[in-house]
Symmetry: C2
Subunit: 392 residues, 2 copies
């Protein structure tokens, strides 16, 4: 078991937690040699001599063999990680945005420099989804990955479903309990879920999807009336990230959309800030992974697992990696519910056919079939008046 000398970027709650665990557990044979932070004058719960504001104090130190990157600025993180690879240091990161945006480039650079790049903490907190996907093989014939990958929105949706709260009240409750940030855009608009789906999809199918190609709508337009409809019909509403193979060529569709889920389905058991992911393959039964998806401790625990794995020279094999870029197949169709308070003119034109239409003084909805092509229509996805919910 080799000794890990760690250079840590960022000393927020996760960084401090990791520092403490490594101090407490000498058995891990890993210690932090230097911590690079932005603000040197802030009080820190660690010896002063560990800190620096100069990234090169880590990157140019040949004794440091592992970089743990935990900063929020993804542009700065990008250049730190690239430089770490070139300096032949292993990297552990939790930065999903950065990884989703530069995934193939970073993997290439990592391989060229023969180091490990582990990022379990970037997806679903403490749920070991990437390590699990690594245990599948090309010929396991994976069909889909379907799940709740964002704890913030799941917390809000659980409040809306179970306590009949409005979106705004549920958001406030999430912020008060530390499950949503002051600016919640990345979570509630589904960007965070799309980043995670992109990372998951590469490990599941060997295919890189661009964030812009993910059909994505967040949860900000959902109304209590939508949840009333869901309850009447035995559903709940979840923000589901889903990549699935839609034809024999292996074409994928990737979506992050509010989804009606039957209450007796496994995924409906996933409540509050928890995450849960189903993995479907032709050869084996559907697998379900479940765990704590948001907050400090799950992130720290995933980072610690990655650090621990480095001592055994663990690296992702990405057995299915291909350089194929996903081309969205627009021939598919989805069953969609659109809910709205006041009549939206021309709304029926989005549908190929309409199955159910309900109009009343207080709320209206239409259910019918919409093509993937139409679903990419910005008027449909961006219209704040419309609750858009697909059926599982």
């Amino acid at each position: 078991m080799k000794k890990l000398n760690i250079g840590l970027f960022g000393f927020g709650v996760v960084g401090e937690g990791i520092y403490k665990v490594l101090e407490d557990k000498p058995k891990l044979n890993a210690s932090i040699k230097k911590i690079v932070i932005k603000d040197k004058d802030k009080f820190r719960n660690a010896p002063n001599e560990l800190f620096s504001t100069n990234p090169d104090d880590i990157l140019d130190d040949d004794e440091i063999n592992v970089v743990v990157e935990l900063i929020s600025d993804s542009d700065a993180a990008y250049s730190i990680i690239k430089k770490a690879f070139i300096k032949h240091k292993h990297v552990v990161s939790a930065n999903k945005k950065l990884i989703a945006e530069h995934h193939l480039e970073l993997i290439k650079l990592q391989k060229e420099n023969d180091v490990s790049f582990l990022y379990e903490a970037s997806v679903c907190g403490s749920v070991p989804i990437i390590r699990n996907l690594e245990e599948y093989f090309d010929n396991d014939l994976l069909n889909y990955v379907f799940g709740i990958v964002n704890g913030t929105t799941n917390y809000i949706l659980t409040k809306m479903a179970n306590a009949n709260e409005s979106y705004q009240d549920a958001l406030k409750s999430a912020q008060k309990n530390g499950f949503a940030e002051a600016d919640p855009t990345a979570d509630v608009e589904g960007f965070d879920a799309a980043h995670k789906l992109s990372i998951i999809t590469l490990h599941a199918f060997g295919t890189k999807i661009e964030i812009a190609d993910v059909i994505r709508k967040g949860i900000t337009s959902l109304k209590t009336k939508d949840f009333e409809y869901a309850r009447e019909k035995g559903y709940t509403i979840k923000l589901i990230a889903n990549s699935k193979i839609i034809n024999k060529n292996g074409d994928l569709n990737s979506t992050v959309l509010p989804t009606f889920v039957k209450l007796d389905k496994t995924i409906a058991l996933v409540n509050n800030e928890y995450n849960g992911v189903l993995i479907g393959s032709s050869l084996s039964d559907e697998q379900f992974l479940y765990g704590n998806g948001a907050g400090r401790f799950p992130t720290a625990s995933a980072v610690l697992s990655d650090i621990s794995a480095l001592q055994y020279d663990y690296e992702y094999s990405i057995r299915k990696k291909s350089d194929k870029i996903l081309k969205i197949n627009e021939s598919g169709k989805l069953k969609v519910y659109l809910g709205y308070k006041t009549e939206v003119s021309g709304i029926q034109n989005f549908f190929e056919d309409i199955e159910e239409r309900y109009q009343s003084n207080s709320y209206n909805h239409i259910i019918g079939t919409i093509s993937i092509h139409q679903l990419k229509n910005v008027n449909l996805l961006n219209d704040k008046r419309l609750s858009l919910i697909v059926f599982e």
Copy 2:
């Protein structure tokens, strides 16, 4: 990807299912060359020339590089597997009893002959528990594996808890629905769970436990009155297999016991024939694996995943394997509920202290602390009059 020529032992529902999938999916690059069965005259859904009653038709055929063993006779399976290793064939098996009884010897033989030995199907049907444990490392500091690993008993207990059925009625329902065998002893007395726990424990902790050292009681003594008590207190009753580290020396306690589980705990979500396992470590959050635990399809799917993995030369690394034999540490104590209809003389002597004692005309119970040493007392574990349930 190498071509797999498979020799199949056994052609029951699982074997036939695997044969069909391999025929249907040429992409898998695996085909069955020979099938050894006991009764040559039975009608089989496969070409006649595939069948033989002579094991050597597989074992002596150098073109066959994989043996898939699916027979119920564990003594016959033992000699087949040993001979297959010596002939340098990879082996896939679903035979938990055989593996639990000869685990270390088979692993040694496998390594000596440089072949793979995969047996995901032997534990928890389609839930990839072994592959998951393989992704943990020594320094991940696993603390416990805690779960429902037997679908038959979980189906019976779910009926008893939710439909208020007696043990006998619930057992009949399980048999009628194909979830229990005509002779259910191995399942309902907890032997099957103990075998699986032994296999899991080796992969989790590197420690082999002998079946006789597992503190085991099945579900046959449980009464509807016990479930009434559980409901009143917000519990359900599950048969829990549990290996956990109890001190700094890494000593383990391994138990298969009826257990009160709070209804809001993750493990209480596991109902009917499903299995669910929690993995706890010092470094990361508790992980939860869940899936279909009994029946033909889950077993076939796990066997197919193993076959698929062989094409990539996958083998268990058993990173934590030690040859240490578990010594049960008898100094531990458990909180135990004993339920009984008619007074059992001296029952209070099992307890170190008594927390609650309830007596009535129809049913009685005592709750208190019992030492592990006392729990190994055959009078306590084997007395059919006593419902023994531990608290989580």
